[in-house]
Amino acid sequence: MTQEVENLIKTEYAAGFHTDIESDTLPPGLNEDVIRFISARKEEPEWMLEWRLKAYRAWLEMKEPTWAHVKYPEIDFQSVSYFSAPKSMADRPKSLAEVDPELLATYEKLGIPLHEQEALAGVAMDVVFDSVSVVTTFREKLSEAGVIFCPISEAIKHYPDLVKKYLGTVVPQKDNYYAALNSAVFSDGSFVYIPKGVRCPMELSTYFRINELNTGQFERTLIIADEGSHVSYLEGCTAPMRDENQLHAAVVELVALDNAQIKYSTVQNWYPGDAEGKGGIYNFVTKRGVAHTNAKISWTQVETGSAITWKYPSCILKGDNSVGEFYSVALTNNFQQADTGTKMIHLGKNTRSTIVAKGISAGRSNQAYRGLVRINPGAEGARNFTQCDSLLIGDRCGAHTFPYIESKNPTAVIEHEATTSKVSDDQMFLCQQRGLDAEKAVSMIVNGFCREVFKELPMEFAVEAGKLLEVSLEGSVG
């Protein structure tokens, strides 16, 4: 782009810029001024703005990836608005009585407690709300242990050295198209630092469930587990998330230093579109962790939402004896499409990785497992075990497996098992002959299929995940 053109765009935008600076939502479009605006609104230091601009300039040179097994109309990135502040209290529903009854019915089925329902539905809570005190207690407990857990926008201001040291070290700005976009415009997200030798005193979950709301469509999360520390982090929620933004591009970076362990669990239940395939979130996520010597990173995910999912939580097993795990359940129904899997990059000696991926396709949905296991020349004695199972419900859906195995060290042992099965008529008949209705039968069979993954989830969440599958499968039989 020539300087003149750049200037022209800048000037043009400047006009709109002034009129909108008072408002909470930017008009659609992306350019350097938009990034300056975001950075200014967040009162970011100069280095952060430069970091974002560098990402933006890289993004301009990049192309949208097209290799995934998903189809969707071309995204016009200039038609997206890149900043919108959370709704003010005044605009929110005053009580659950004002919330869509269908949404409430789903919360009911999932067994979400009432105060959480209020939080999730965005009810204005300016009086006393018991979870507020819960949050305060959590905060105190965490700070006693020296754990830092805050929005990344706060971390940029209060812990700039930590952020500067690690941000972009696992997923560089130029890593891929969506990661570059996220680096340029990320709205907010979480920052976690666990000091040396500290075992985080709680699952970073309940707290998160209430607080993650309105982090926006370009989430950025950075978790650093210092030497010998442990943390279990839970992202997402089983309740369906209301969201007006169609395009989501998140980045999550995990750093597990020597002897540290990070367990990262996700339940993704974004709006999948309606039964005819209209609407729904496009979810393009980059999640990656680096495990140093003797460290362990474990990803567990349950994906049931979004119209399009493009997501490969990965581990770089950099240190000797480091361990990477990936346990995944992905369920697609109606017209949903998912291309998901993992990458295990073995660099250190005696590194080990385990992949257990369960895909369930129903309706007219399509799903692909895409996994890469790479053993580099230095990874003496590396081991991988991959198990990849697909379950089909009905005969209009699809399941595809794309395993990539690259071994450059002859001492490596790699095992890959894959199965495809259907919910059989015989299984259905057995269940129905014992008095179960068809929907209960399918959800029970599907839950059984996912058992190996569910047992990796934090306990209370495993139960919810089971119910979530049941809700997501509604209408898939009969």
Partner: protein, 249 residues
């Protein structure tokens, strides 16, 4: 209990049952015997509402209700139980969980509260003992990796827990050694209470030494060609089926 009149049924466009009549009163045990392909298993499948088995004519009344008008699961909740010839596996679903949801489904239908997990576990443990299955089987996936005999005993355990009014045993004796056969028969006999009825479908007279029927029916080409008491089974054992198929019945 069960009244079948002029029942015709087809499977994949092929007529299998061609006008079948049976009357079963409460407490009775009826054995259905017959050569391969005579429609023995079809009867159990049609009565229990297996998809693909279509009744084309005739009527079936079960406890005064039009059985054929009910959905598969409604028939089950109303007290009709089919013990499978080839019980299918449901990987990852624990036997305990499966049994509990089945029992709860039936209780709910009857307007009873669900059993608590503790109550149910106690009941399930006691029942597994009755069929000589180790309590470990309750934790394993439904029929997952079970031997043939274990699968059949698991079926009988389900039958005991669900306390049906009408039990249909579809060649439950196939593939059982003599010890397992004894366990299965003891289980069935322990459930004979003068009210509960049984249809025992079998190839061999052997099972009927253990489960003594009130009536024996011979099914050939989709019809009952001969009925009698338990001595008929012995006669069949001695003579085979051909004398009946040749029109003497």
């Amino acid at each position: 209990m069960l009244s079948i009149k002029g029942l015709h049924a087809k499977v994949e466009e092929k007529d299998i049952l061609k006008g079948l009549d049976i009357e079963i009163k409460p407490g009775e045990v009826h054995a259905i015997m017959g050569p391969n392909g005579s429609g023995k298993s079809t009867l159990g499948n049609v009565l229990s509402g297996r998809p693909g088995y279509e009744a084309t004519a005739g009527s079936v009344s079960f406890k005064g209700q039009d059985l054929l008008a009910l959905d598969t699961e409604e028939r089950a909740r109303n007290g009709l139980f089919l013990a499978f010839q080839y019980p299918v596996e449901i990987p990852g679903v624990s036997n305990m969980e499966f049994l509990k949801v089945s029992v709860d489904a039936k209780r709910k239908y009857a307007g009873l509260p669900e059993l608590s997990a503790v109550e149910f576990m106690k009941l399930a443990r006691e029942t597994s003992k009755r069929v000589n299955l180790d309590a470990n089987f309750l934790k394993r996936g439904v029929n997952e990796g079970f031997s043939g005999g274990e699968k059949k005993r698991n079926e009988i355990m389900q039958m005991m827990l669900l306390e049906p009014d009408l039990c249909i045993l579809d060649e439950t004796d196939s593939g059982l050694d003599i010890d397992a056969l004894q366990v299965v028969a003891d289980g069935v006999n322990s459930m004979r209470d003068g009210k509960r009825s049984f249809i025992v479908v079998t190839h061999y007279q052997r099972l009927l030494d253990y489960i003594v029927p009130d009536y024996v029916h011979v099914l050939a080409d989709g019809r009952i060609v001969k009925s009698g008491d338990k001595s008929l089974a012995l006669e069949l054992e001695a003579k085979g089926y051909s004398w009946l198929e040749n029109g003497e019945g």
